[in-house]
Assembly symmetry: C2
Homo-oligomer: 122 residues x 2
DNA sequence: CTGCTGCTTCGATGAACGTCGAAGCAAGAC
DNA sequence: GTCTTGCTTCGACGTTCATCGAAGCAGCAG
């Protein structure tokens, strides 16, 4: 098919995680997953991720993120570190500024978790 | 009269389906969403949700959940309460036992969040 | 009624988290 | 070199969280 839109090929296909309604999670597996959700479990981090994901060019400068919140720079830096350590975003320094972008695979993985089959009563 | 286990502080009302790469989240919106992720940000709760979602008949008895973990009953009850208040599950007492099942709409809502993978400008 | 079982709530405690100011580090301008 | 700007790390402080034992409540069987 012709591709008008620059949306990349469906990443949702390469789902690695079974849906929540699937086979039972092991302890280690659940712990790893929990780390990702812990990173998402803060309003500031959610807005940061949202801003980065929806930024022009797919990446955002920390300088822009800083002024968007009524929080100190160390605090924003801390939240970015948490998102980074969860594998949700990655940063790169270019000259004076640091730019962050999302890691598409990480979002795709979460997508698979909530794939709809969540059981329907027979 | 009905002293069933209700969803006391349901939080899912405002949480809607716009993908993360979509329009910017407001503060209130992000806070509501964060509450749901906070409920998912624990390995025990993830496994509980997983067990309930994949249980025979779509619902699980607390008595079965209790023996599946090396934790005290109060702790399991606490985790179930957190999931309940996040609107992810709901419980019902039938005679001696209490059964929990997932709330499909809650999972569907999360599915929407990650539905559209973040584009990367090639 | 008395007991017993299943589940929840209460109260306390130790660990983890969000926030800040101060200090450190990197890159560029002078 | 020195100075300035952008971002991160460090150390501390108050809050929130996971966990437990004890106590409370609901339902059922004698």
């Amino acid at each position: 098919m012709s591709k008008f839109l620059r949306i990349e090929d469906d990443v949702t296909g390469q789902v690695c995680c079974a849906p929540l309604s699937g086979p039972l999670l092991g302890e280690a597996e659940a712990s790893e997953l929990a780390k990702v959700f812990k990173a998402l479990a803060d309003p500031v981090r959610l807005r940061l991720l949202n801003m980065i994901a929806s930024a022009e060019g797919g990446e955002a400068c920390v300088c822009d993120l800083n002024v968007a919140f009524d929080l100190s720079a160390p605090t924003i830096s801390h939240h970015l570190k948490v998102l980074r350590q969860a594998g949700l975003i990655e940063g790169e320094r270019r000259g004076t500024w640091v730019y962050y972008k999302v890691v598409p695979d990480a979002i795709a993985r979460l997508s698979g978790l909530f794939a709809i089959p969540v059981f329907t009563r027979a």
